[in-house]
Symmetry: C2
Subunit: 301 residues, 2 copies
């Protein structure tokens, strides 16, 4: 499973980058290969000041080594070797009419140090969307496409993982969801219903859904004109994205604590952000309408 997942994720990074370039982006990704001191490494691909993307990353990594002490404690396992591989994407578009997108797909396994035996293996990930302006039609298309992918594997997947995303991408101190959610899942391991290979087929399908769901949103919205006020609103909403990622996001926290490659982890932070004091959108404005959509439990499909 290590070799299989690592190779497939590495190719997924290639194909997503290629499809984004075909989808209208003209500025190439810059690639940084890095190695991890404890074992493994990654290939970070970041694009900045592009035609479509203001800043974004499509990152691949495959790391391994001794499980850090604090993680060992939180996982309640003995001394273990871990292996983790996956693809992480955050794209902050230039045009405020194009939504921010995030995807992560990953495989994780633990080997007991004493016995040398595989003790745990699971998949995690998801795709979620953060529009600066919520367009219910786009939101429906986004969730419908994710639902179709989920439904190919199990009828419970979409409702379960959609609710999980609502709970996960939530900013308690703002009482807002980060965006319109999507799907989120973690620790998908083998059980009575699924073999580990079934989980893997699902995760591959999620990875392949990324461009299917995002390229149409770029095509539809990229040419729309916008005002200076709408650009300001985008910078303001990006502030929420930063608040979520730095205060609550488990992946970011894990990365900062375990001394991952900081610039690869924090590629998720936008190029330009603004925090005006106590900004309140005008009653009845498009901005206020968007705020009203940012709550848990909306049935988009």
């Amino acid at each position: 499973m290590r070799l299989t997942t690592e190779q497939w994720f590495s190719r997924l990074q290639d194909s997503i980058c290629a499809e984004l370039m075909e989808g209208g982006e003209t500025v190439p990704f810059r690639e940084d290969k890095w190695e991890r001191e404890g074992g493994g490494g990654g290939r970070t691909r970041v694009l900045q000041e592009g035609t479509v993307i203001e800043k974004g990353g499509v990152n691949f990594s495959a790391v391994h080594g001794l499980l850090p002490q604090p993680v060992q404690e939180s996982f309640k396992v003995d001394e273990s070797e871990f292996f983790a591989t996956g693809v992480s994407i955050v794209l902050h578009p230039r045009n405020p009419m194009v939504p921010i997108i995030h995807m992560n797909v990953r495989y994780f396994e633990l080997t007991d140090k004493q016995s040398g035996k595989l003790s745990r293996q699971w998949f995690g990930g998801g795709i979620d969307l953060t529009p600066h302006y919520v367009d219910p039609e786009d939101a429906r298309f986004f969730h419908q496409t994710l639902k179709e992918t989920c439904d190919r594997f199990h009828p419970d997947y979409y409702p379960h993982f959609k609710a999980w995303a609502d709970d996960y991408f939530y900013i308690p101190h703002r009482n807002e969801t980060r965006g319109i959610g999507g799907i989120f899942f973690d620790r998908l391991s083998a059980n009575d219903t699924f073999r580990i290979e079934d989980r893997w087929e699902f995760v591959k399908a999620v990875g392949e859904t990324f461009t299917k769901v995002y390229l149409p949103l770029i095509r539809k919205n990229q040419q729309k004109t916008f005002t200076e006020e709408q650009k300001q609103w985008q910078l303001y909403r990006r502030g929420r994205y930063v608040e979520f990622n730095l205060v609550y996001d488990a992946g970011t926290k894990f990365g900062l604590q375990t001394s991952g490659r900081i610039e690869s982890i924090l590629m998720s932070l936008p190029l330009h952000v603004s925090w005006p004091y106590n900004f309140q959108p005008a009653a009845g404005s498009e901005e206020e309408k968007t705020l009203r959509w940012l709550r848990k439990g909306v049935d988009w499909v």
Copy 2:
């Protein structure tokens, strides 16, 4: 002590705002009075797009009520009533040659719910400086002035509180201090050496040091010209300020967890911020020199 501290801090807010206006700022502070559901409230004064200050707040609050459950556990106390009052300041100047400053002075006390007796009382606070460009002469003036204030009360205060600031204002994932530090102290209570009144006199002196230490830095640097590249560097360094405040700052965390007034707490976040991917200043540049100063244990005096 409640009434004394609350009244004095409230007047400190007034005098600091007035002195900043005399010090060259022409845009007035906007005042927002707010009440806390559980008891007490505050007076937030924020200034945005000023002549000297791009965004900054000089906030006063005096809150009380039942100590929230998680805080009760971390303090290891029985059910208690708390009272907290203080002044918090963060100023992000417009000109990158003027440093960012932060001050907090606060009084905290706990009353046992059962007995109705005062069970704990302490002071906390400090002043620290975050220059976008470290000027060793300004840094020396800043630390020397703080040291003189400290030395009036105890010879150990400055070395102790200076080291505390170095440890506190540190960003582990960047291996950088937030700025050039200053002084930081917490839980200063009565002991064999100090009565609670002695601690109070010291905290008042710290509050009075704020304008003495910052107005000269405005006067000296405010008229300096700067390039577009230097402004970009300022936006980039502000990103570190956000990373520290959202990931590590105990006061911010406490505020977000206990549902304080979010816009008052997050007034510390700058108006404009930038996170370019993997920015590295040129070898030998002023920016690189500044990075080399951002470490613990520099003896500025």
